[in-house]
Amino acid sequence: MNKVLPDAAAAVRLIPDGATIMMGGFGLCGIPEVLIAALHEQGTKQLTAISNNAGVDDFGLGILLRSRQVTKMIATYVGENKEFERQFLDGEIEVELVPQGTFAERLRAGGAGIGGFFTPTGYGTVVSEGKETRTIDGRGHVFERPLHADFSFVKASKGDRLGNLIYHRTAQNFNPMMAAAAAITIAEVEELVEPGEIDADHVVTPGIYVQHLIVGAHYEKRIERVVVQDG
């Protein structure tokens, strides 16, 4: 078994127009920047993107928005991106905003075969409008459905040919849940290692969730807000 594809271009050839794709990352941290760039290059259209954020104007998911490849987004926070704002205000893109904890749990439910869950988050706000609600132990809860996708793009620091993945610091974020929640998960890694090099105790995403893997050739890893202490 070898899940490694030659490069990102080969990986995104699997993606047809109209696909729903989950993309890991928090802000620009831990985003699958190599696969996003390849998808931009390929020009695949009518995409639904499921991602915590929308990137910035010229990096990450932002480049797919600028080229109008995305028609719908499910996200928790979409500031930081002027082009997105314009498309949103002009009604060119459909947006579903989800509270971040609910977003994470909907992804988890999608990957774990759960048909949804009741959460107190958002009860009594616009988030609960049109949804089933229930009082549990005296507290209002909202029913939230799982999230599924045709594809997931996840970013890991290391992976092996079996698809086992490990992440670095806060670049983990939504990547593990997304790996499990899509029909086909493509992981991009900074470093390909031999099976066994990632200790079984330390594997975060087991290979069963990963169908394909590529090694990213170059990582820019742009930082949104560099803040340093004096001295």
Binding site: C29, Y77, Q100
Partner: protein
């Protein structure tokens, strides 16, 4: 209003207890971390999965893979842990955080909070705010008492879309410290340089004045 912010932040910091797990929102709340009282050890939580946020890095320490929820570069303290987003929000929703501090556009006397959306303006999203206000044991709103134009932010009933229903436990502004109780806004302390009359004027709801009204500032 740098002085106002400083005063708010210092007063909020006095609410910290040794051993607390705390989430500080973006803006004024983040500054609370600079005023942790001596002898008190707290653990700062960040929505993106970092428990144990350290100071901002030096230039040499910058790691693109280590940021806080405000997308700023940070460091991690010895003893910190890093988890996925689903685990991070299990901590939040599961009632494991002792305190969250965040800003507001409006708070009403029932403890309802509005801080994520102004209709007609760009909707950026609620991020983790709805989970945080519903999950933390205490929710302190740290904000300037009135809007820049002098409008009320402490109101009888929020008119803006809500972030959470009956969630706020305390409000700290540059003028006052207010507990949100079942009876409404309970004024505990007023700032040294203000008067009860001025606070009442700047507040759009009834104030229950504490019998032993304290001062801060």
């Amino acid at each position: 209003m740098a002085d106002a912010r400083e005063r708010i932040v210092k007063r909020v910091a006095r609410e910290l207890r040794d051993g607390d797990y705390v989430n500080l929102g973006i803006g004024i709340p983040t500054l609370v971390g600079n005023h942790i009282p001596p002898g008190i050890e707290i653990t700062l939580h960040s929505e993106n999965g970092l428990l144990g946020i350290g100071p901002y890095p030096t230039k040499d320490q910058i790691d693109a893979d280590l940021i806080n929820a405000g997308k700023e570069t940070v460091t991690e303290l010895p003893g910190s842990s890093i988890v996925s987003s689903v685990e991070s929000f299990a901590m939040v929703r599961g009632g494991h955080l002792d305190l969250t501090v965040l800003g507001a556009l409006q708070v009403d006397e029932a403890g309802n909070l509005a801080n994520w959306m102004i209709p007609g303006k760009m909707v950026k999203g609620m991020g983790g705010a709805m989970d945080l206000v519903g999950g933390a044991k205490r929710v302190i709103v740290a904000m300037e008492h009135a809007t820049k134009k002098g409008g009320h932010k402490l109101v009888k009933t929020c008119s803006l879309p809500l972030t959470g229903v009956k969630v706020v436990t305390m409000i700290v502004t540059e003028m006052a410290v207010i507990d949100v109780t079942p009876a409404g806004f309970h004024l505990r302390e007023l700032a040294e340089d203000t008067t009860l009359e001025r606070i009442k004027e700047a507040t759009g709801a009834e104030l229950i004045v504490d019998e032993t009204l304290g001062t801060f500032g």
